[in-house]
């Protein structure tokens, strides 16, 4: 592993609700300054794991550490270095965007100028006086994110920050997450959007039936499933031809190239989505 300190370390976490086993033996490490994606379909146990990692839920087995502190009996001031967006945004409906942030700025003891900065960065400066009850879903999500980044925490924990948002709002949120990483924050996010994870995350863990079934950078994970290892040629007449990626195929490809029939050539490396389909036997119902 790199020399960077771990923001989050989970060792063999297991969790059951009564007889229902939600997490079996989950271990992971999140280093300072990285964006880590926890992927999995609905019901995989992502939210439960986040709750355990933030000390909101007591695991049934294993240990978890936040900034090196055991999450069982976490001192409250450890929370001052975390920014959270939970699956329910937890905003005060009757208060304005500004007043929602003002409360937390006063709690954290951060300057007022940070409020306007957070509103500007999330594109809510114009809506600062609007009560939360009159915000769209995307605006609420951005306000929750504004609250999470207000005090410039060392770790952001975001539960499905872009679920149900239109692509342009999601892209704005992605940009903001990258900015936070550049500032030096580590980010742990959950998503069932594979494209998002590929673009954003340094490391991903695929959670399925309570286990981490794959772990690594998105490119590594995909390469590991590249057993087809083929090259796909699409011809101008619409036909598509798949050839093995071996020296033996060189002549076939060269012939097509020479005849000028080729529309496009690409490798058939799987993306995270197909990897997950293969691992779980199903796709991501969102």
């Amino acid at each position: 592993m790199s020399g960077k300190a771990a923001c989050i370390r989970a060792e063999n976490i297991s969790m059951s609700f009564g007889k229902k086993e939600v997490l079996q033996s989950v271990s992971l490490n999140i280093a300072e300054g990285e964006i880590f994606g926890l992927l999995g379909p609905s019901g995989a146990g992502k939210t439960s794991l986040l709750k355990i990692l933030t000390g909101q839920l007591r695991q049934t087995g294993g240990r978890a550490f936040l900034f090196g502190l055991d999450t069982e009996g976490l001192p409250r001031d450890a929370y001052e270095n975390i920014g959270l967006v939970l699956d329910n945004t937890g905003l005060y409906e009757r208060l304005s965007c500004y007043d929602n942030l003002l409360l937390f700025a006063e709690i954290y003891g951060t300057g007022r100028e940070k409020i306007m900065e957070a509103l500007r960065r999330t594109g809510l400066a114009e809506a600062k006086k609007r009560p939360v009850s009159r915000l769209s879903k995307g605006m609420r999500q951005r306000l929750a994110l504004a609250r999470a980044i207000l005090h410039e925490p060392g770790l952001l924990i975001l539960d499905e920050p872009t679920a149900g948002l239109d692509p342009s709002t999601a892209a704005e949120i992605h940009a903001l997450i990258r900015e936070e990483r550049e500032r030096g924050a580590a980010v742990l996010l959950t998503t069932h959007n594979m494209e998002e994870a590929t673009k954003l995350c340094g490391h991903v863990a695929l959670l399925h039936l309570g286990n981490i079934v794959e772990y690594g950078s998105p490119a590594e994970v995909c390469r590991r499933y590249n057993h087809l290892n083929a090259i796909c040629l699409t011809l101008k007449d619409g036909e598509s031809i798949t050839v093995e990626n071996t020296p033996l195929s060189a002549k076939v490809v060269a012939d097509y190239l020479q005849s000028g029939q080729i529309e496009s050539i690409h490798s058939t490396e799987p993306n995270l989505e197909t990897v997950f389909m293969e691992l779980t036997g199903r796709g991501f119902a969102s």
């Binding site: 001031d77 929370y79 005060y92 709690i107």
Partner: protein, 232 residues
């Protein structure tokens, strides 16, 4: 307890109260009604502060309980309390902040009653003291209900019947001997007696004891509920 946190909670709560008609009306309806009746209605033979003491006793049984329970239950239901606790606000700071806020607002209402009733000197002290004790008891019951309930609906289903008992019992006991003999063990009835005698007689030790025991019971119930259900 950090004053910065308490102050932040008060500020937020005040802004929210101004925009939350259901809670806001709790604080002003009965004092307004008391002032109105005092000046507009005069019935021969009624004691001088008949309406003031009646409405003030109702206020004690109603406003602190309903507002405290609904504030706590709503914060739990909407997960805003979880966000506060996850931002290094301690559960005790939150409860104290909201509790003190409701208490002070109710005492502002009490001051309106006292002013309208024209109390002065020892009478004023007795009036406000009785109101403070009653508000504290109601507030603790409301806090227990709010802590217990998962959402506002559940809280209302408990506060509405209890609030009716606490706020109407003083009035009912004026008309019915049997009710009165049982109701004298309920704090709101004793508070009403203290209000009626404020400035005229001293405090009845039995009444003071009943209020003290009621407050103690409310503390015990609250502590029990708080241990059982926690705040998230």
């Amino acid at each position: 307890m950090r004053l910065r946190i308490i102050g932040a909670i008060w500020k937020k709560q005040w802004k929210d109260t101004l925009k939350n008609k259901a809670v806001f009306i709790q604080f002003i309806m009965l004092p307004a009604l008391g002032v109105f009746m005092k000046h507009m209605v005069s019935v021969e033979g009624l004691p001088p502060n008949y309406f003031i003491t009646m409405f003030a006793a109702m206020y004690v049984g109603m406003a602190p309980m309903v507002s405290m329970a609904s504030i706590l239950a709503e914060e739990k239901e909407k997960h805003t309390l979880r966000m506060l606790l996850m931002s290094n606000v301690k559960a005790g700071e939150y409860l104290f902040g909201v509790g003190a806020y409701v208490f002070l607002l109710c005492m502002a209402g009490a001051a309106v009653f006292a002013f309208a009733g024209g109390y002065t000197g020892a009478g004023l002290a007795q009036f406000l003291g009785a109101m403070a004790a009653g508000v504290a008891a109601s507030l603790l019951i409301g806090a227990a209900i709010g802590t217990w309930s998962r959402n506002e609906m559940a809280a209302n289903s408990l506060t509405v019947p209890l609030m009716l008992v606490c706020s109407f019992l003083p009035m009912l006991s004026m008309f019915n001997e049997k009710i009165a003999s049982a109701a004298r063990f309920v704090y709101s009835c004793q508070v009403q007696t203290m209000l009626k005698t404020a400035g005229a007689e001293g405090i009845d030790p039995f009444g003071a004891a009943v209020v003290a025991v009621n407050i103690l019971c409310a503390i015990v119930i609250f502590r029990f509920v708080y241990r059982r259900s926690r705040l998230d």
